[in-house]
């Protein structure tokens, strides 16, 4: 019997087996942000164990509320900053270099095939896009990870999702993952990892793959895994070029993690995307999905483009194609938060920031803020947002607010119309320019 990628990673990282189903794994990286880490740091201090297992393997960022909005968030940042300095954590990203963790850390080359990674953040599943086992954990798991470099997991089963067909124009990775979550339900993949496979996934960029993996947790999955291939190696090459003779040898090394042909899967799901339309969520659960056409006309007060789901350069290009030469509705507050400084900088170079600004968007610094109603775009009770983020829970972007999740293209079209609507097809009136 062959093994899945996850089984291979578990086997090579296991240091203890507390019972039949539980494995304690060594960690290749522990990621930290300022919301869930300070309490772990303070607890370690109070236990007299203010140590880190390996400062090279700890990566930290202030991203949720940055710049600080009040005394409390300033204090969280201060705890992180002083801790990073005290323990010589070199990969610490503060104002000027900081960005949304799940966009920033891959961009820095910190995620590699075969790695085990934890973070005190449920969207850590994003990094599975590189063929890593990456899982969100709570503060106690994070604390032990920081101190000992280990974490316990119940051995997950693997669910294989094969995405086939031809992706219609104007339909994106976000629509594909919304479709999948709609099929699975919000706990359809609980205690499982999802393997996204098939020609559609193979053809996706790393950015699009991260959009898929990012939302695996919205179906309850521990991680959303994609097999490493040429695309993975190309993306990582600037960071690994000294470790390998050439890209082929890198790929050969990474391919050993790939699930065997005869690996056992708990479930398999096939999705043909050939007739998929752009989708939106319409309630307080991410599995509550409708087509944009069905939700057409729903009036929105705010449009938010950004986050670890859709704040990368391709997402901004996708939205800019719709916004170029157009103005957003007077009734809409448009907010763009490029996910990282490098995304921001690239968007400036490509003229994308100007397109957003000319259309009436405000451009904020990279931060998670608005996605979870912490800063930079909180909704008032009764307000409605169109958002490229990943969660639409009641109160998520502000108490009493409603969030409709969608792709950047749909969000941009919605901003222009003032209500939920499809982006115009290429060649249609109002559609532009193949510049991006």
């Amino acid at each position: 019997m062959g093994k899945t990628l996850t089984e291979k990673i578990f086997e090579t990282h296991e240091i203890d087996k507390p019972d039949e189903k539980t494995r304690v794994l060594t960690l290749d990286a522990v990621f930290c942000h300022e919301i869930t880490t300070p309490i772990a740091i303070n607890d370690l201090i109070s236990r007299g164990k203010d140590r880190v297992f390996d400062p090279e393997k700890i990566k930290a960022v202030i991203d949720h509320v940055t710049p600080a909005k009040d005394t409390k968030t300033a204090a969280q940042g201060k705890i992180m900053r002083e801790w990073a300095r005290r323990h010589n954590i070199r990969d610490f990203f503060d104002i000027g270099r900081n960005g949304v963790c799940h966009a920033l850390f891959p961009e820095q080359g910190f995620v590699r095939p075969g790695y085990t990674i934890i973070m005190g953040d449920s969207h850590t599943c994003t990094h599975g896009a590189f063929g890593a086992f990456a899982a969100g954990v709570g503060t106690t798991d994070l604390e032990v990870g920081i101190l000992k470099g280990v974490c316990a997991f119940r051995m997950p089963e693997t669910m294989k999702i094969e995405v086939t067909g031809t992706l219609p124009e104007g339909v994106y990775a976000k629509d594909v993952i919304l479709k999948i979550i709609g099929e699975l339900g919000v706990n359809g993949a609980t205690n499982k990892v999802i393997e996204f496979t098939g020609p559609i996934v193979d053809a996706m960029s790393m950015e699009a793959r991260m959009t898929l993996s990012n939302m695996a947790v919205e179906a309850g999955a521990t991680s959303g895994i994609i097999m490493p291939d040429e695309t993975t190696v190309d993306y990582l090459w600037p960071y690994i070029k000294d470790d390998f003779e050439n890209k082929e040898t890198a790929l050969a090394e990474y391919r050993r993690w790939i699930s065997d042909e005869d690996a056992a899967y708990a479930d398999e799901l096939h999705i043909d995307v050939s007739s998929l339309e752009p989708l939106v969520t319409v309630g307080y659960k991410p599995d509550n999905i409708k087509t944009v056409r069905e939700a057409e006309g729903t009036v929105v007060d705010q449009v938010y483009i950004g986050s670890c789901t859709n704040g990368r350069i391709e997402d901004l290009r996708e939205a800019a194609r719709v916004l170029a030469g157009r103005k957003i509705a007077d009734s809409v507050r448009g907010i763009l938060s490029p996910a990282t400084p490098s995304v921001y900088s690239k968007a400036l170079e490509e003229g994308i920031i100007k397109i957003f600004m000319d259309s009436g968007f405000v451009v904020t610094n990279p931060t998670c803020g608005a996605c979870l109603g912490m800063s930079n775009g909180v909704l008032a009770p009764g307000e409605v947002a169109a958002s490229t983020t990943n969660r639409n829970f009641n109160g998520r972007m502000g108490k009493g607010g409603m969030v409709h999740l969608m792709s950047p293209a749909t969000a941009a079209a919605t901003a222009v119309a003032g209500h939920i609507t499809n982006a115009p097809a290429a060649g249609e009136q109002g559609a532009t320019n193949e510049k991006f």
């Binding site: 240091i15 203890d16 507390p18 019972d19 039949e20 189903k21 539980t22 304690v24 919301i35 869930t36 300070p38 309490i39 303070n42 607890d43 236990r47 164990k49 949720h64 509320v65 009040d70 409390k72 968030t73 204090a75 969280q76 705890i79 005190g120 953040d121 449920s122 850590t124 899982a135 969100g136 954990v137 709570g138 503060t139 106690t140 798991d141 604390e143 032990v144 101190l147 000992k148 280990v150 316990a152 119940r154 919000v186 706990n187 609980t190 205690n191 309850g220 521990t222 659960k285 979870l372 109603g373 912490m374 969660r391 829970f393 009641n394 109160g395 998520r396 108490k399």
Partner: protein
């Protein structure tokens, strides 16, 4: 070991998520105590009044997929700071369940039929639960059951060895620190 006995609150909904258990705006707190007044603040559920209905409660019984969403351990902490160390459900979101055990708290999974029976017999009554951790049982009791008379029901639950060890050790930090 923490206390797993006392009054029971029934929350009749699936997919109660961590944003409902403790909204993100309170994640700027760096002490667990500060979370206490905000437990289940955003839960909109008929007949449930946040603050008032969790007073004096020690155990929550609910439906499926409790604790979905964010990884925030603030969710179990908000429960703990209100004296609630035990949640009984059909199943839990993975991270929430692990967070419970990591803090020495109990997340007990029972089959949907048993949960339904508990709701039928005890929801809306003055119900108490008594846990025998070593035997793996909880005894639910009410003086004023649906028929007006006292009702008692004992249910068994299974835990993995690792989960039992975490409860005995008082949590994962203690467990891991003594072994790795």
């Amino acid at each position: 070991m923490k206390n797993f006995n006392g009054r029971v609150l029934f929350l009749d909904r699936s997919d109660i998520n961590t944003d409902e258990i403790i909204p993100a705006k309170y994640l700027t707190e760096i002490s667990k105590e500060a979370l206490a007044p905000h437990l289940l603040e955003d839960l909109e559920l008929e007949g449930f009044t946040p603050g008032k209905d969790t007073e004096g409660i020690s155990i929550i019984v609910t439906r499926e997929n409790f604790g979905s969403g964010s990884s925030r351990e603030h969710a179990p902490w908000a429960l703990e700071m209100n004296g609630i160390n035990m949640v009984v459900a059909v199943n839990f979101a993975r991270i929430f369940r692990q967070n419970m055990f990591n803090g020495g708290m109990l997340a007990v999974e029972l089959d949907p039929e048993t949960i339904e029976e508990l709701f039928q017999a005890f929801a809306g009554t003055e119900c108490t639960g008594k846990t025998d951790f070593e035997k793996g049982t909880i005894t639910f009791h009410t003086e004023n059951g649906p028929a007006g008379s006292a009702v008692e029901r004992t249910v068994s639950f299974d835990l993995y060895d690792f989960q039992r060890e975490l409860i005995r050790a008082g949590g994962w930090v203690e467990y891991a620190d003594s072994r790795y």
